[in-house]
Point group: C2
Chain length 221, copies 2
């Protein structure tokens, strides 16, 4: 029987949040961010196989949190790698021949809409790949040390997740050697020669990174 | 007596919103977006001179809205130009020798925080210029027709408003001839040889552009 899967990647250590709690474990409306994110996929399709990639030293904490918050959705936990690429690669080892469509989602994007997940699965089923993007309508600058460069914003989009693929495509693509340019799954898949299809994301589907992001996300949960 | 001013630029025609109401006149919590934006500056400093640049064909509507919503904050309205550059240039004609610091703010950014305005005024007073920026922590792509290019996101920031300057600096800078690369005031000022100083903006200070942005902004007003 064919089924689908979602890989949830949660590799953050909390360093940029200025505290020692990894951002995926911070509480929003009294529940860890990561649980909110996983629940969106369960709500989309409760037959999805869920594979969670977590840093080795966070797995015990996660198990305790699951018990404490009575988080009952079945999922497989794998050990995260040194980069997002390596985490996804580890998670893909849990994918079998019976999986048809594979989504990869950031564990720190709890605001993803069911509608966006649905659109990405539909487009990937039809065309092999789908990622949500949002247009930037503001000025952009590159500020690095004393460098200060204005970036032409024409046609620039922010890439979000879930990034969704037919399983053969993502599995083949992750056989490549890692390069630092692999900042997301689409860049890996594209480097293998597959084309990427776009669907419209939504602005509030942010990747929690900075302390103020928690207050932001609370408005929408 | 020295005083400060803010130029509010509201040039939108509503075309990207898919309707005929300019986005600055759309209602949030039963009040036009533009009134929310102006009020932020009054709350910051109720002695600021307020100069509003509006397209010629919207000035009557604005006057009616001011009467209808009993909007009582004193402001000078000038006719907007063909681009943002030209609107700011028109507004700068209302600046006199007695103005020390000039802020320029997008009329469709009603969520700006008083704290951000304050930080920009302080930094501009000290160093001549200040703009709020926010870091991008997500993958970026340029998608134009069949072009599809991954943008190196290292050090890339989104530029917001208010953009704040010592009056001589902005007045001198706007004497230049317009070029299409002038997407904001900082780019104009920088082209004149002045340096730009940065302060941290905040994520929800978005520029209302798309229909879904209204729902977004309502969460924060």
């Amino acid at each position: 029987m064919m089924k689908n899967a979602v890989i949830i990647v949660a590799g953050g250590t909390g360093s940029r949040m200025g505290n020692f709690i990894p951002k995926q474990f911070l509480l929003i409306k009294n529940k860890p961010v990561l649980m909110h994110a996983i629940e969106k996929f369960v709500k989309f399709d409760n037959t999805l196989d869920i594979i969670l990639a977590l840093p080795r030293n966070q797995i015990q904490t996660w198990k305790k949190l699951c018990a404490e918050y009575e988080f009952q959705y079945k999922h497989t936990t794998v050990i995260g790698g040194i980069t997002r690429f390596h985490s996804v690669k580890n998670a893909l080892e849990k994918i079998s021949n019976e999986h048809k469509i594979i989504a990869v989602h950031d564990g720190v994007r709890p605001l993803v809409k069911i509608e966006t997940i649905k659109k990405c699965f539909e487009l990937a089923t039809e065309k092999g790949s789908a990622i949500p993007v949002i247009q930037i309508n503001e000025s952009l600058r590159r500020i690095q040390g004393s460098t200060n460069e204005i970036i032409n914003r024409d046609g620039i989009y922010i890439v979000q997740t879930p990034q969704v693929f037919i399983s053969d495509i993502i599995i083949n693509s992750y056989k490549q050697a890692y390069i630092p340019e692999f900042t997301d799954d689409a860049s890996v898949v594209e480097k293998s020669g597959y084309s990427i299809n776009y669907t419209e994301g939504h602005r509030e589907n942010i990747k929690i990174t900075f302390p103020a992001d928690i207050n932001f996300v609370e408005k929408f949960i």
